[in-house]
């Protein structure tokens, strides 16, 4: 159901976000003591996009709203402004109205000031494909890839819904898992998050199998957001993602990696156990690091090149990155998406 956005609603949402910021701030101070308080000592709201800090508070739909609204508040000069609405009617200008909505052409013809009014569209269906394989349960420091990805999915869903897009969720591991059909109701967000909460990362990643299964369930073309660590055969992965593009979907891929996966910063020999297969392997980081990092560079370069060639956005995401980068990438893609 289309929702009409108004400036007052947005202002109200901003007040709620501000209150939530304060609440989060208090909770953080109460829960994590002087060290965290010191870290939060500044007034930069961008720090609340830091997943590390958010993880300490605990993710929630409300927090996603806070993040997204905080993020959008920082986009007042964004080129994405008004991208999802269409002209509906004119009304007479009253003082206080934003002059940028003044219809100067009509003023030239009629010598009266009219303000343009817009009508939002809801014809975009966004599908969030979230990898729920066991490898997503890996993480170092404060949060796992799964945590990060879930919250990212939540934020994206919120953003979609807020923009009148229908947001759906599909979980996959070895094969296609739970599917939450796309809806654009705000209450739909809660269902999405409940689904995520009840899901634990498990099993291996079989991206091709999963995507082939999901493609059959996506009847209408739309925007597909793939959030995965892409731990699978790269060729098959590329082939699977191209399959989505082949079905005329707009695709954006968030390749989620933990910082340790990217840097391989083990300091001493270790016995590593594969979270997906349970396989053990003794490694000497000093020996393996350079080869591993080179391999990871090649891998990301391979993904980036392979996906970009098909017009698919590829975004490498580190779990230490703030969410704004991911959201920006999404919005960037959304602005170019076909309606």
């Amino acid at each position: 159901m289309p929702l009409k956005l108004s400036m007052s609603w947005l202002r109200g949402l901003g007040r709620q976000a501000q209150m939530l910021f304060q609440k989060v701030h208090r909770a953080v101070l109460a829960g994590d003591g002087p060290k965290l308080a010191e870290a939060l000592g500044g007034n930069d709201p961008q720090r609340y996009l830091d997943p590390g800090i958010l993880a300490r508070v605990g993710f929630s739909p409300l927090l996603a709203k806070v993040v997204v609204e905080g993020f959008l508040n920082g986009l007042h000069k964004s080129p994405f402004h008004g991208f999802s609405v269409e002209f509906a009617e004119h009304r007479e200008y009253v003082p206080g109205d934003d002059l940028k909505y003044l219809d100067w052409a009509l003023y030239a013809r009629t010598d009266h000031f009219y303000i343009k009014r817009f009508e939002e569209e809801t014809n975009l269906r966004a599908y969030i494909l979230l990898d729920s394989s066991a490898s997503m349960g890996y993480g170092t420091g404060l949060l796992t890839k799964w945590d990060y990805s879930c919250f990212l999915a939540t934020c994206l869903a919120y953003l979609m819904v807020r923009q009148q897009d229908a947001a759906g969720l599909m979980l996959f591991g070895e094969k296609a898992g739970l599917i939450v059909p796309p809806r654009c109701r705000r209450s739909h967000l809660r269902q999405l998050m409940l689904t995520l909460v009840n899901q634990k990362p498990a099993g291996e990643t079989k991206l091709e199998t999963a995507i082939r299964g999901m493609v059959r369930n996506i009847k209408r073309r739309g925007l597909v957001v793939l959030i995965s660590d892409l731990i699978d055969d790269p060729q098959e992965t590329i082939r699977a993602i191209k399959l989505l593009a082949g079905h005329r979907h707009d695709v954006i891929v968030f390749h989620v990696q933990d910082a340790t996966e990217q840097e391989f910063n083990f300091t001493s020999p270790a016995l590593l156990r594969d979270l997906e297969t349970g396989e053990d392997m003794e490694v000497d980081p000093a020996t393996l690091r350079s080869a591993y990092l080179e391999q990871m560079r090649e891998l990301t370069a391979f993904y980036k090149k392979g996906l970009t060639e098909m017009g698919i956005d590829y975004q490498l995401v580190n779990t230490k990155q703030t969410y704004d980068q991911a959201l920006t990438a999404y919005l960037n893609r959304r602005s170019r998406s076909r309606k």
Binding site: G31, D32, A55, R56, V57, G58, F59, S60, S135, M136, G137, Y138, G139, T140, G141, L142, L143, T144, K145, W146, D147, C150, F151, M193, L196, V197, K200, P201, D229, I231, D258, T260, E261, F266, T267, S268, P269, A270, L271, L272, R273, D274, L275, E276, T277, E279, D280, M281, E282, V283, D284, A286, T287, L288, A291, Y292, Q295, M296, L299
Partner: protein, 718 residues
């Protein structure tokens, strides 16, 4: 390579520990979850190879540490010439007088012998058995077979040179008993540490021993480590005697030397007389003689101490004690028989009587010569004689033989020559029931009497009778050719001393101690029948020495070191204890032994030189003990001759330097192994903790949080 402690090799089983640990080691490393090993697998193979490579190096180092440690405990022993076969080794250390030769700057042969022998004990390998024997004139088994050669070190270090002459052959019977007591299979190694003097070996004894060795299946190897100093110079008082000439009494002193010794030398006499000194000119290889006239004093019981100045490396033979108690007329009985004539029809005793008369006429010997027909001799004639010459036995009656035996046992000396009817010797003089108690040392065999001319060999020139006759300038005794002699049937008694042999090994001159007296048996005639002895220039001096030597039986007061002293204590109390004060001042208590009515002092093994004093109440008697002079010549044995005597036994005569060089490769390696273990341990530590990635793993800093959404975890603060 062999091992001193082979049991320690069981420690090599410890090598199983690193293998077992490697195979069954518990995973000490805590698994660290990781998202996926997909991207690591490509590099893992290389990594695995490196880990395996490190592990192999570590394993080898650790195995090496264990192995070398075990080897060090097992004490491996390398010796180039060793076959590694366990051997029965007899270490024979010469402790004779000559081993004490000192130069002041060099190590004495005795000390060098001990050092080398200790080194030899160190070279013993596991499975070896070792026996230790000391030898001078007599053999002493210090230790029978032991498995641990090192346990003999203390006994070996305690061995010191004594005052007896070298008689290495004396050890051979002891070796025979040791060899027969050993294992039947193991090879035998005889190692002599000696200065190897020429007079130390007797060919016949060696041949007897070699004959025995041939009967054993054991392989025998002989090493003679010659520790003697090169060309040691020595001067010594060879002999001294006194004689009277009218009212005057003289002391005649012979001084020998083996090399040219620079400087003036003096013979000094003293003791119970005012000191007199004469310069003497030493001639290497010859005997220099000097005479001293004694003061007109009562000489009975007096002792002349003679010494040579300056002293030299072998000081023990630079002093001589000459008792004058036997100065006076000596009763010499010559028993002859008309039936005992030589091929020229002369009495067999004619040369002996001539020599005695000559000595008497020249005042050389104060003797009273009594010539008696064998059939007419009275027991009293025998009783009064101190020396009896018997040149034929044709008319000897049994009572007379019995009387002769009694007289000899009582202290008289009997000189026994072959002559006349030789077949009667065994019947009249040989004691078949108790051969060691008879007047004839061994049973004579004439049936196969050797017709080959022969010289004397293995002459014990150190014997007092022969000492002064070794000089080729003064004596032609060594050149006498013996045309015929009797062969020996049976064995000599242990107490008998062979002073010379014929070249076929038959005893030529035998001394048999018989109670207080002695029998000197010549395996030749006193005439010209069997040899040219009687016609040699040395014959008269030989008779002179025989009389001087044998007349001491009654009233004898001079012995040699190692002798059993038997001193007649005429008219002493038989029951009261007797005190003997040795030259060192020690007092020994003894009891008199009554032998045929007279009390005798019996003192075994007089081991000090000098003047002994025998006391009982107010009575006092003195006697002297001198060192034998056999070692004084210090003439080294010819290795080639010795090798030929020992044929077919493998004999090697080695100098100390050769021995050290030979044993150089036989150094024990355990200290080096321990050092290697230490180095390996250090390398292993460095390698394991700094270089090898597999060792000493520490938990990675990566910590995984798998927490769900909306549920802040307590672990988040970890």
């Amino acid at each position: 390579m062999s091992f001193l402690v082979p049991g320690a090799l069981l420690g090599l089983t410890l090598l199983a520990i690193p293998i077992i640990v490697h195979l069954f080691k518990p995973r000490k490393m805590k698994p660290t979850p990781f998202s996926s090993l997909r991207w690591l697998r490509a590099s893992h193979q290389k990594m695995s190879r490196r880990i395996q490579w490190h592990q192999w190096i570590l394993f080898l180092m650790r195995a090496g540490i264990i192995t070398f440690l075990v080897l060090a405990l097992a004490q491996p022993f390398f010796r180039g010439s060793d076959s590694g076969v366990p051997t029965d080794r007899i270490v024979i250390v010469d402790v004779s007088r000559s081993m004490g030769y000192t130069t002041g700057t060099q190590m004495t042969p005795g000390k060098l012998a001990r050092e080398l022998a200790l080194a030899r004990l160190d070279k013993a390998i596991a499975g070896d058995r070792t026996a230790l024997v000391a030898v001078d004139s007599r053999a002493r088994v210090i230790s029978p077979w032991v498995d641990d050669a090192l346990s003999l070190k203390g006994k070996l270090a305690a061995l010191q040179p004594g005052l007896l002459d070298t008689q290495l052959s004396a050890v051979l019977p002891a070796l025979q008993s040791l060899v027969s007591a050993g294992d039947d299979v193991r090879p035998i190694e005889l190692v002599f540490f000696t200065d190897n003097p020429e007079a130390g070996w007797q060919q016949s004894a060696i041949q007897d021993f070699v004959g025995y060795l041939k009967t054993t299946p054991r392989q025998v190897r002989l090493e003679i480590i010659d520790v003697g100093l090169p060309a040691p110079a020595n001067a010594w008082i060879a002999s001294a005697s006194s004689y009277g000439y009218g009212e005057k009494q003289f002391v005649e002193i012979d001084v020998g030397s083996n090399a040219e010794i620079k400087g003036k030398h003096y013979v000094v006499i003293g003791g119970d007389f005012p000191e007199q000194r004469q310069e003497i000119e030493l001639v290497p290889g010859r005997v220099a003689r000097s005479e001293f006239q004694l003061p007109a004093l009562e000489l009975k019981g007096k002792i002349v101490k003679i010494h040579l100045e300056p002293g030299d490396g072998l000081a023990s033979d630079d002093t001589f004690y000459l008792p004058l108690s036997d100065v006076g007329q000596r009763g010499v009985l010559v028993l002859e028989s008309d039936n005992d004539r030589d091929t020229d029809g002369r009495l067999t005793s004619v040369f002996v009587k001539t020599a005695l008369q000559s000595l008497k006429d020249k005042g050389k010997q104060s003797v009273e010569i009594l010539e008696k027909q064998s059939g007419q001799a009275l027991p009293d004639d025998v009783s009064q004689a101190q020396v009896i010459f018997l040149t034929g036995v044709s008319d000897l009656s049994e009572p007379l033989v019995e009387k002769l035996e009694q007289r000899v046992r009582a202290g008289a000396g009997l000189v026994l020559f072959l002559g006349g009817d030789l077949t009667k010797y065994n019947a009249k003089l040989f004691n078949a029931a108790q051969p060691e108690l008879g007047l004839l040392p061994f049973k004579l065999k004439f049936g196969n009497a050797s017709e080959e001319p022969s010289l004397w060999t293995e002459v014990r020139w150190s014997h007092p009778v022969l000492a002064a006759l070794a000089d080729p300038k003064l004596s032609d005794l060594a050149k006498v050719i013996y045309h015929q002699h009797a062969e020996m049937e049976g064995e000599l008694a242990p107490a008998d001393r062979v002073l010379a042999r014929f070249q076929d090994g038959t005893p030529a001159l035998v001394e048999r101690p018989l109670a207080a007296g002695r029998v000197v048996f010549f395996n030749t005639s006193a005439s010209t029948d069997l040899s040219g002895l009687a016609k040699t220039a040395a014959f008269t001096p030989l008779i002179d020495r025989l009389v001087a030597y044998l007349a001491g039986g009654v009233g004898k007061s001079s012995w040699l070191v190692g002798d059993d002293v038997q001193l007649l204590l005429k008219d002493w109390d038989r029951q009261a204890p007797i005190e003997v004060v040795t030259p060192a001042g020690q007092t020994r208590t003894a009891n008199a032994r009554v032998l045929r009515g007279d009390p005798w002092l019996h003192l075994e093994n007089a081991d000090e030189t000098g003047i002994y004093v025998v006391k009982q109440a107010d009575k006092e008697l003195r006697f002297v003990v001198n060192v034998p002079r056999g070692d004084s010549l210090l003439a080294p044995m010819d290795p080639a001759a010795l090798k030929s005597w020992w044929q077919p036994v493998d004999v090697q005569t080695l100098t100390p330097d050769e021995v050290r060089e030979r044993w150089k490769t036989g150094e024990q390696s355990w200290p080096w192994l321990l050092l290697l273990v230490g180095v390996l341990l250090l390398v292993e530590t460095i390698y394991g903790y700094w270089l090898c990635p597999r060792v000493n793993p520490t938990a990675t800093a990566s910590v995984i949080y798998q927490r769900g959404l909306f549920r802040p975890s307590e672990e988040a603060s970890v």
